[in-house]
């Protein structure tokens, strides 16, 4: 048998898992109903009471939760515990200016850490590992999520965060990191920079890469494995549910085991909300079973995936979800940052010289996501000098930078050449081959 962190849970029979999930769901629903006015009102309205939930099979009776619900209850309205029990806040970008805020109790953090530790251990890491965390640290869950998981496992953590790539590579060589955690695009960038610096992968002790926070493809996995001489594994998560570590792929690399004792996945038809079962693509929905600070019932992730209960050669009984193959909304993930086209529109509305008509072109140059925003020159904002037009593009790019936290190239185009607003899809061209 391969290594595991929590043998009892990871190899639990389906019947035992069903019983555990049922028991946890019943108490979670009761707690949520009692402590979160939003859920109480929603359940009352739908005529579902905690007593109606007797096992995990009753999950479908419960209402969904959406990102909009989190926004409507900004910042802490959905928390189920008093603030003095909340020990950590994270946040991710929402569809407009407001962030999606999540909170954790000490127990939530411990469970999160354990979930990440399970994923690391499943792929060969242990307390002797040296884990370099090159995810961003901050409100984003990537850095601290991987950090706490690796530390919980007893590994040595090197918290390099993002940036200063040459130094990262030097430290990776000098400290002998055996595990690397970052976004897959940054992993490729590290590998290529290393090559440019004349450092051969044989000088590294890296064995394992744990990559997530953005979609990536199998060819990209092959490329990273080749560049860095490692096994590259996919880690999935979202801050609303917890952060990275909700699921992770095992040696089979054909799906991510979901830690079902804490998060129950469902696949639904995004249009009807109907549960469509296993082995079919649909929208991934999660219910948290043990979260204290921010328990969420049937949270719609907007990620397109499918789940499979087929036995896995690694022996784990936990359901596997497919690598997400798209979104059911218009969210884009650019350099690991969630971007909604509506954010671009609201940023443009703040620059009075320009119309909120735009075309967003996302591409990937080598490993780096690029973002170009085309806006129209108008008879009003057209200045007969290059300086004036450059000042305009600078003003717009500054506004985009402060709204999204991402740099964008602003490209001025002739008047009335951009398609007028008839549906958002026309405003975005994503040339990256991510799915």
């Amino acid at each position: 048998m391969n290594k595991c962190w929590n043998e009892k849970i990871e190899f639990m029979s389906r019947d035992e898992m069903h019983a555990l999930q049922s028991e946890r769901l019943v108490s979670q629903v009761k707690r949520v109903y009692e402590n979160v006015p939003f859920y109480r009102a929603k359940m009352d309205k739908e005529g579902v009471l905690p007593g109606d939930i007797k096992s995990i099979d009753d999950l479908g009776k419960l209402p969904f939760t959406t990102k909009q619900d989190l926004r409507d209850n900004y910042p802490f309205g959905l928390f189920a515990t008093p603030m003095d029990e909340v020990v950590r806040i994270h946040a991710s970008s929402g569809t407009t200016g407001k962030q999606t805020v999540v909170g954790y109790t000490a127990k939530d953090l411990e469970i999160w850490s354990e979930c990440v530790a399970r994923g690391f251990t499943m792929n060969g890491a242990d307390s002797s590992s040296i884990v370099q965390v090159s995810y961003g640290y901050g409100l984003f869950t990537g850095g601290l999520g991987a950090h706490y998981g690796a530390e919980y496992m007893g590994a040595t953590v090197v918290p390099t965060s993002v940036g200063n790539t040459a130094r990262q590579i030097q430290l990776m060589v000098d400290f002998g990191a055996t595990v690397l955690c970052c976004t897959p695009s940054y992993a490729t960038y590290l590998g290529e920079t290393m090559r440019d610096m004349g450092i051969d992968k044989s000088q590294l002790k890296l064995k394992l890469g744990v990559f997530g926070a953005e979609p990536w493809t199998e060819p990209m996995r092959d490329r990273i494995e080749e560049l860095l001489g490692i096994e590259a594994h996919d880690i999935y998560g979202l801050s609303e549910i917890m952060g990275p570590g909700v699921s992770m792929d095992c040696r089979e690399k054909n799906g991510l085991h979901v830690w079902e004792d804490h998060f129950v996945p469902e696949i639904i038809n995004p249009d009807t909300g109907e549960n469509i079962g296993a082995d079919v693509n649909g929208e991934l929905v999660f219910t948290t079973l043990t979260k204290e600070a921010l328990p969420l019932i049937r949270y719609r992730t907007r990620d397109v995936s499918r789940i499979s209960y087929k036995p896995c050669s690694c022996g784990r009984t936990a359901v596997k979800m497919a690598k997400p193959s798209g979104r059911t909304d218009d969210m884009l993930i650019i350099r690991g940052v969630n971007v909604f086209p509506s954010q671009i529109e609201s940023a443009l509305l703040e620059v009075e010289e320009v119309e909120p008509n735009y075309l967003l072109i996302v591409d990937r140059e080598d490993t780096h996501d690029t973002m170009e925003i085309q806006i129209e020159v108008s008879p009003e904002n057209f200045a007969d000098n290059v300086r004036g037009l450059e000042a305009l593009t600078k003003k717009v790019s500054g506004k985009i930078q402060s709204t999204l936290g991402l740099a964008a190239k602003i490209h001025l185009v002739e008047p009335k050449t951009l398609q007028r607003s008839e549906g958002k899809a026309a405003r975005v061209i994503d040339k990256r081959k991510l799915y």
Binding site: V377, P379, D384, L389, E390, H411, L412, E414, P415
Partner: protein
């Protein structure tokens, strides 16, 4: 005294200039002088034409961002030191030049320089005083 210059925003893609010149050709508008300020993404096409108001209307109708800018035209001797004379006068008068371009006309012996400066009136006065003739728009349009 001033000359109306037509400025057009053109994207840096092939065929855009051709579109503008086609409009002018169809309207039978004569281009006296032109220059292009270019950047990576876009260019500003600046032109002196015989019928500036008509040209502007036609180009705008075709969907371009177009603007009229008042510039001045001066006549300089088409010989070594000709341009220098005008430049020295402006420098001494502390008048900055935003951009300029020059052209010659076969029926004239001089060279013509289009100047975009901050204050046309001050510049024209200084140049005239220094012996550099400022050519009115009507003359330029009808070259």
């Amino acid at each position: 005294m001033v000359v109306k210059q037509i400025s057009v925003f053109v994207e840096n893609t092939s065929g855009r200039l051709a579109k503008v010149t086609k409009i002018l050709a169809e309207k039978n508008i004569d281009i006296q002088a032109l220059c292009i300020a270019d950047t990576t993404d876009f260019g500003i096409l600046r032109m002196i034409v015989n019928k500036p108001d008509e040209a502007k209307a036609a180009i705008r109708e075709a969907g371009f961002a177009v603007k009229t800018t008042e510039v001045i035209a001066v006549s300089i001797e088409d010989a070594p030191g000709g341009l220098n004379k005008a430049m020295q006068i402006l420098a001494e008068s502390d008048i900055g030049i935003e951009y300029m371009y020059a052209f010659t006309e076969k029926r004239r012996n001089d060279a013509l320089v289009i100047l975009r400066v901050e204050n046309n009136e001050d510049a024209a006065k200084a140049l005239e005083k220094g012996g550099v003739p400022v050519i009115p728009g009507e003359v330029i349009y009808n070259l």
